[in-house]
């Protein structure tokens, strides 16, 4: 056993220094930061553009007083549901030739008018391209009714007492934390999967594999390679998390402290996050290493990476059913199935305070890492090195 670990360490040390000391590792570190950075910038621009571009504009041809009432009604509605879903109203004083004014308004581009409302509040008439947009019509109906309703009578004042959080918001926010954590975990393993798939290409193409296979067990090589990648990606993770926290601190008012508190608490949740990241990586990594070891060229790895990515998406989808209902059958199934277990359990950590299920899950996942590695090494010896006696397929992997 000591020799096994030492052999694995020799491989891991070589791989780790070959990865981390190469110039390309800088790009590996910077890579995920670009989308974060640009995401922040473009999200800001994007929402502005969207709010201006999407809201339909309705030209209201009415006397000033009536337009004011309609506009006030719109403001009250905006208080209730927010600006975004509402139509935009622009007032115009009526001209003598109403038909001509209508025609001119519908043709104008500044602002681009969706429809023209005329006839005042008593005989409202709407003309416009509304076939694909029933909402505008409905909103106007509501606005007109609101504008016509007498104000300030018979509506008792709503008494509001504000508390910090209710079970409704906590559950929602925790589900959000769970989901975000899962997505982060998923994206990380997705990015690393191609790297793991091609881990053995170098050895196979420059024939070092023969030197290694003669000296140490293939299992030890697999373990070494896997942990070298894990170490390199944990290094990356530390950089990325710090950068992410910094970004949140800069962008979000109140900083990191405003993030919804996970059920197990922040320190435990972060610890779980790191452990489950490791487990998730080891599980997928072992599987990918096994698959990738079969490929002999970079081209084959590229071809393989597509179905592998889809497999990951599928498992991510499975794990995401656990969010929102930690105790449900689906959630438990996702926690038991080894490949989705880390993602599902991390979501559980955000939503459920019990610690013992995590201990069980981590042991369970570790068992599967070992199993997959063992099987992968056997498969490699059989199919790539063409070793051992020929066995019927049902005894495969046992020798």
């Amino acid at each position: 056993m000591r020799r096994f670990i030492r052999s694995a360490f020799v491989i891991a040390r070589r791989d780790f220094s070959a990865t981390v000391l190469s110039k390309t590792f800088i790009f590996f570190l910077l890579g995920p930061l670009f989308p974060l950075l640009f995401g922040g910038v473009f999200a800001g621009i994007g929402t502005n553009v969207a709010s201006q571009a999407k809201r339909p504009v309705v030209a209201v041809v009415a006397p000033k007083a009536e337009f004011a009432r309609l506009s006030a009604a719109r403001d009250r509605l905006a208080d209730a549901v927010g600006e975004d879903p509402l139509i935009e109203l622009v007032g115009f004083t009526p001209e003598r030739d109403l038909a001509a004014q209508q025609k001119r308004l519908l043709a104008t581009r500044q602002p681009p008018v969706r429809a023209v409302l005329s006839g005042g509040l008593d005989h409202p008439q709407l003309v416009g391209a509304l076939a694909s947009d029933p909402g505008t019509e409905g909103q106007l109906r509501l606005l007109i009714a609101e504008a016509r309703a007498p104000q300030g009578e018979d509506s008792p004042e709503l008494n509001v007492t504000n508390i910090a959080a209710s079970s409704g918001t906590v559950a929602r926010d925790r589900a959000l934390t769970a989901q975000l954590a899962q997505v982060a975990l998923f994206l990380l393993t997705l990015m690393l999967s191609t790297m793991v798939l091609s881990q053995l290409i170098e050895e196979k193409s420059n024939k070092v594999i023969e030197v290694i296979a003669a000296a140490i067990p293939i299992d030890a090589m697999f373990v070494g390679k896997l942990f070298a990648m894990l170490a390199a990606s944990v290094l990356g993770l530390v950089v990325w998390i710090s950068a992410g926290a910094l970004l949140i601190q800069l962008i979000k008012h109140g900083g990191v402290a405003t993030l919804p508190l996970p059920a197990v608490g922040w320190p435990a949740f972060l610890a779980l996050g790191i452990i489950y990241f490791g487990m998730n990586y080891l599980l997928f990594g072992a599987a990918f290493l096994m698959i990738g070891a079969q490929a002999s060229t970079a081209r084959e790895v590229q071809t393989m990476s597509m179905p592998v990515t889809f497999g990951q998406v599928l498992i991510f989808g499975f794990a995401s059913t656990a969010v929102g209902a930690p105790g449900s059958v689906k959630a438990i199934a996702a926690s038991v199935f080894p490949l989705s277990s880390p993602m599902a359990m991390l979501a559980r950590g955000a939503q459920d305070a019990a610690i013992w299920p995590h201990v069980v899950a981590i042991v369970w996942q570790g068992l599967w890492v070992a199993l997959i590695l063992r099987f992968g090494a056997q498969l490699f010896r059989r199919t790539v090195l063409k070793s051992g006696p020929r066995l019927p397929w049902w005894r495969f992997g046992r020798a």
Binding site: R3, R6, S7, V10, R13, R14, A18, S22, E202, E203, N206, K207, V208, I209, E210, V211, I212, A213, A214, A215, I216, P217, R381, L385, K386, S387, G388, P389, R390, A399
Partner: protein
């Protein structure tokens, strides 16, 4: 004491049988040559012996271990297809190979520097393998093979790709390691190397051991060869020459008859052959190989011989 023992090794690759019941016994401290044409199964035998692959059936015992990988720290192996990480420095590559065999990396680097300097490659110790010439890279790999002072050194076609000077150096290194007590097994398709280096050889043909024993034994399987040139072209002396004698130019070439040289000489002189030249030669390993492995295998080897 045996360093390596193989009993009835069989290896099937899908439908083809690459190695068909090979048994070998290599005494400790010997220089042992596996001789045979390409495709005879030499590499597969070596890979089975050191445990890269397991045989389909049969057993092997290496330095007292039934699982050869357990003996890995005491084995050095140079594969036929040389392979190093191109980005590694020469000294790191050597130390890495040592580390794989259990040598601490710092000690490996120290020894690597010393060995590289000894082989006039000191200036290249901190250059990456990529920048080395093919010959230098081979030397680096060879040094990595012996860095951990193995008791058993397995070299697969070590001479191929080396120039004459480096071949001589390698022969010297093999002899030196053997003197120091290591057992050396190497494969080759060049008979001359086996003849110069080995006490014992195994001739492999079509996945089987055609001969296993001392080089002298292989030779003594053949009778000495007689080369004779006479002045007379015909006469009663002709009956003393075996019927299967070949004519090479104006020479007769034939195996020395059972009776030895004396009756032959007497018959030639009495018959008035007029002996111009007569040579009785000890057969070379090449002749032995032809007689053991067959003319076809010998011809195949001759074609592959780059020299």
């Amino acid at each position: 004491m045996l360093a390596v023992e193989a009993i009835d090794l069989v290896k099937d690759f899908n439908e083809t049988r690459a190695v068909d019941g090979v048994s070998l016994a290599v005494p400790a401290g010997a220089i042992f040559g596996l001789l045979g044409p390409n495709g005879a199964g030499k590499t597969t035998i070596l890979r089975m012996l050191i445990g890269i692959i397991d045989p389909s059936s049969g057993t092997r015992r290496v330095l007292g271990h039934d699982r050869p990988l357990e003996a890995a720290p005491e084995i050095g192996y140079l594969p036929e297809e040389r392979g190093l990480y191109p980005a590694m420095h020469a000294r790191d590559a050597i130390a890495f190979m040592g580390a794989l065999r259990g040598l601490p990396i710092a000690e490996g680097r120290r020894r690597a520097d010393a060995l590289l300097a000894e082989h006039n490659l000191g200036d290249w110790a901190r250059k990456s393998i990529r920048t080395l010439s093919k010959g230098m890279a081979q030397t680096v790999q060879l040094l990595g093979t012996i860095i951990h002072k193995p008791r058993l050194i397995v070299l697969d076609e070590p001479f191929s790709g080396l120039d004459a000077i480096n071949q001589a150096r390698l022969e010297e290194m093999i002899r030196r390691e053997a003197r120091a007590g290591a057992t050396i097994i190497f494969s080759t398709h060049v008979i001359a190397h086996a003849e110069r280096l080995c006490e014992r050889i195994a001739i492999i043909a079509k996945g089987k051991v055609a001969f296993d024993g001392l080089v002298d034994e292989a030779r003594s399987r053949l009778r000495p060869i007689v080369r004779l040139r006479t002045r007379a072209s015909d006469g009663p002396w002709r009956s003393a020459i075996p019927a299967n004698a070949r004519r090479e130019g104006d020479e007769y070439v034939f195996e020395l008859p059972e009776g030895g040289p004396e009756p032959l000489l007497k018959a030639l002189i009495d018959g008035g052959a007029g002996i111009e030249t007569l040579a009785i030669e000890r057969p070379g390993l090449h002749d032995a190989f032809v007689s053991i492995a067959g003319a076809g295998a010998a011809e195949a080897m001759g074609k592959e011989q780059p020299q």
